[in-house]
Symmetry: D2
Subunit: 143 residues, 4 copies
Amino acid sequence: MEKNIKTKLKTKPIFILPTRVYYQDTDAGGVVYHSTYLNFMERARYEWMRGLDLDIKSLAQIHRVIFMIRSLNIEYFKPAILDDLLHVTVQNTELGKARITILQHVLRGQITLASATIQVVCVGADTLKLASLPISLRHKFGN
Amino acid sequence: MEKNIKTKLKTKPIFILPTRVYYQDTDAGGVVYHSTYLNFMERARYEWMRGLDLDIKSLAQIHRVIFMIRSLNIEYFKPAILDDLLHVTVQNTELGKARITILQHVLRGQITLASATIQVVCVGADTLKLASLPISLRHKFGN
Amino acid sequence: MEKNIKTKLKTKPIFILPTRVYYQDTDAGGVVYHSTYLNFMERARYEWMRGLDLDIKSLAQIHRVIFMIRSLNIEYFKPAILDDLLHVTVQNTELGKARITILQHVLRGQITLASATIQVVCVGADTLKLASLPISLRHKFGN
Amino acid sequence: MEKNIKTKLKTKPIFILPTRVYYQDTDAGGVVYHSTYLNFMERARYEWMRGLDLDIKSLAQIHRVIFMIRSLNIEYFKPAILDDLLHVTVQNTELGKARITILQHVLRGQITLASATIQVVCVGADTLKLASLPISLRHKFGN
């Protein structure tokens, strides 16, 4: 069922958020702590959604839905370090009935430091159970 | 007014929570990141309150109050490092009508690495305005 | 080459670390923030290695190797919330020449809230390039 | 001794860093977690120093000094919440031989949500003991 509605997005615009590495992002290994990349990625997804006029508060209050991460697959290629200026990308690669697949990269210049594929699901704000993404919101994701 | 009810607690039992330093707690300077001490301290206060049978959920749901930090004064003496086994203390030094003063230390063995004085206030769960600490809870703090 | 040395571990003892959910672990959605699960898991891996007598400092200073996360695949089934007592498991499922595959679960009672498969690699402390896991350390991982 | 060199800075330019509140910054109380304000403040101090051409790496490698927080006094007036656009200020109010006093505010529009006074000390990168701020750096702080 979900397959029918699922769409391989043809045009995949890339949103990019620049972010600086501060002490709070690093660990005693001298590099960015591995879970911090997920925080960088959340910031980028959040700003990407704001740019799509998808306000978190309206989603919860008007549409009664929230987005939750269902799974996350991240690869670490090279470590980011203190003072790095990173660029965190967001690309919506697939849109299901209640699922969104997002591809994200953390770049330093031309070098990809980390990549992640993230499955986000739409759930009822009260039930926390899978809910269809409201039609009025679907087009904002490029559909 | 508040002064009348304020009590310098005579007996000041000390609650102690042991905590290990992991990579997530450190920064590229090779030491525990300065705001992480506040996280260690929250854990200790939380366990201290659980030990006093002050359940956060009951507080909010039954008594309709929550605790918020009003101010915090911390001194850093020596840095904690990766793998340290720390002891975080909690001591309730003063109990006002709606305020609690708490003294906390972070120790490595006999050495005090950091000390903080924290003013916690009791506020209405709905109003977020200052509210008297319910009488039935006061005695749990030793009054 | 690595295949020859790779061993599907027959006995896979499970290490378990209990951990409480504090405010610092949660977000405004009322649940544990998704990257915090990775922090819980690091704590469990760290304590598991300490239990195997694999001291992080000796590794870096004597053996001149450090462990880095190469990839991480996590699934979120149900959210953990404030005050939950969680159990975080660690299981070493595969041991390569320079790679370790680790399976981790975050449990609340009998319920699995999240599961992750983590690829850890052994790299030279100076080079940050892939390095064989020292023989003297291999047996500690059950080989 | 230190008093002689200490200078009440007459002109106190204010550096301002805008910062958005994301889920990672909040807790289950629905507000920004109290230690997160310290992270916001570190980001602002770091960018302020970059703006003064005080590169952290040069400081450590060339001048062999690092800055550490000696004490921090923070007051919380009103909570920041998800999606807030905050402005974090930095003001250097006093410059000692080896100490810098910094005043920071977290603002939402015209409202001050939190204020902190932070004592930063200059220590030897190797000794971690108090060291005079190099003369060549002093003027960058406005002296």
